[in-house]
């Protein structure tokens, strides 16, 4: 058995993944974690809990329809993480630069991603027209502290009583969204106020159907059906699950990891 260093025992990355009929989230998460491990030099853990009795749906940009989505296990991150300091990523979040390593040098209990910039859409920043700003649960970090424990317990409570909290916060969407549950818990825990604590920087979201991503001369070239984007090597949130199951993505993973 590989002997781990002290820091490796207490700091790591986890991802949750549960397959549905059309998407192999587990394979996608394995590849994303492989990239993350290489980039940040941290151990990784994949958590798959297929026995959760909840059903949810999300809009799939590849098939242009609502598909089954098993995303109810995020509130268990505190209990299930084997690390003292954990970065949690969605299966579709690619860690391509090492900026996240800097957060470990600072003082916080948990950090959420508040800013997002998408390539083709301007997303609303609030949970509803008369609501409060939400966060992106695509990537977040926590330490095993009392405040973090309270935070995750509160998310679990919000999840169980989502219909109540949805009305309380004037949420427009009917479906449960981790992004909203995290935002509500954060707002409540901070005395019904919004604190600026955040994973610093802006999350870049590739929110359209894409055909390829390649790395060339320290740049990422992302091609969709109509144009290409030339980006610096930065962390990416890829919404096209079809791309994440394509041969091109596997080639990208092999090249990076």
């Amino acid at each position: 058995m590989k002997k781990l260093k002290k820091s490796e025992k207490s700091r790591g990355i986890i991802a949750f993944a549960n397959n549905n009929k059309i998407t192999d989230y587990v394979s996608i998460a394995k590849n994303s974690l492989k990239i993350a491990e290489k980039t940040l030099g941290l151990p990784t853990t994949l958590i798959s809990l297929d026995d959760l009795n909840y059903n949810n749906t999300r809009y799939d940009i590849d098939t242009e329809q609502f598909v089954e989505w098993k995303n109810y296990d995020r509130c268990l991150a505190y209990d299930l993480s084997p690390y003292d300091e954990t970065i949690v990523i969605d299966a579709d979040y690619l860690i391509l630069d090492n900026n996240l390593n800097k957060i470990f040098d600072c003082q916080w209990d948990y950090l959420l991603q508040r800013n997002n910039l998408a390539l083709s859409t301007n997303y609303p920043y609030k949970m509803g027209a008369n609501s409060l700003p939400y966060v992106w649960a695509t990537v977040f970090a926590f330490r095993k502290t009392e405040k973090s424990k309270l935070f995750f317990d509160l998310i679990s409570r919000i999840q169980k009583n989502y219909n109540y909290y949805k009305l309380l916060f004037n949420v427009d969407q009917r479906n449960f969204r981790n992004d909203y549950a995290f935002a509500m818990a954060d707002i409540i825990l901070n005395g019904y106020s919004i604190v600026p604590h955040s994973i610093y920087g802006t999350m870049i979201t590739v929110d359209q159907v894409i055909n390829s991503i390649s790395k060339k001369d320290n740049k990422l070239i992302i091609k969709d059906n109509s144009k290409s984007f030339v980006l610096p090597v930065t962390n990416l949130h890829i919404m096209s699950k079809a791309y994440l199951q394509s041969e091109n993505f596997l080639e990208l993973v092999d090249g990076l990891a």
């Binding site: 001369d217 144009k227 610096p232 930065t234």
Partner: protein, 104 residues
């Protein structure tokens, strides 16, 4: 590959300079953050100027997570200046590169 295929490929890889520029700027704004002495600071010209003109060698600065961090003026200044220069140089270099491939 026929001429039409080549032409189609050329059109397909046409890129939007304004989006590339915007994303590059976001990445640089992120990279300008520097961890120092248990705090995280976004290194800006204002911060550099403030620290440089501070008359005492030790001071407390508020980091991005609203914590007061004890700073040794000289150590912070040298590290922060190096970090700022490195990131800004990279921004300039990468900006020039995306300008060359400007299509729209």
């Amino acid at each position: 590959m026929t001429n039409l295929d080549l032409l189609m490929e050329e059109i397909r890889i046409a890129t939007d300079f304004q989006i590339n520029k915007k994303i590059l700027r976001e990445k640089i704004q992120t990279d300008l953050h520097m961890a120092h002495h248990g705090g995280l600071f976004k290194i800006t010209p204002e911060l550099l100027a403030f620290v440089k003109t501070w008359p005492v060698d030790e001071l407390y600065l508020e980091d991005v997570y609203q914590n007061p961090i004890s700073i040794d003026k000289q150590v912070f200044l040298v590290t922060a200046q190096q970090h700022y220069q490195q990131v800004m140089n990279r921004w300039h270099q990468e900006y020039e590169e995306i300008k060359k491939i400007r299509k729209i």
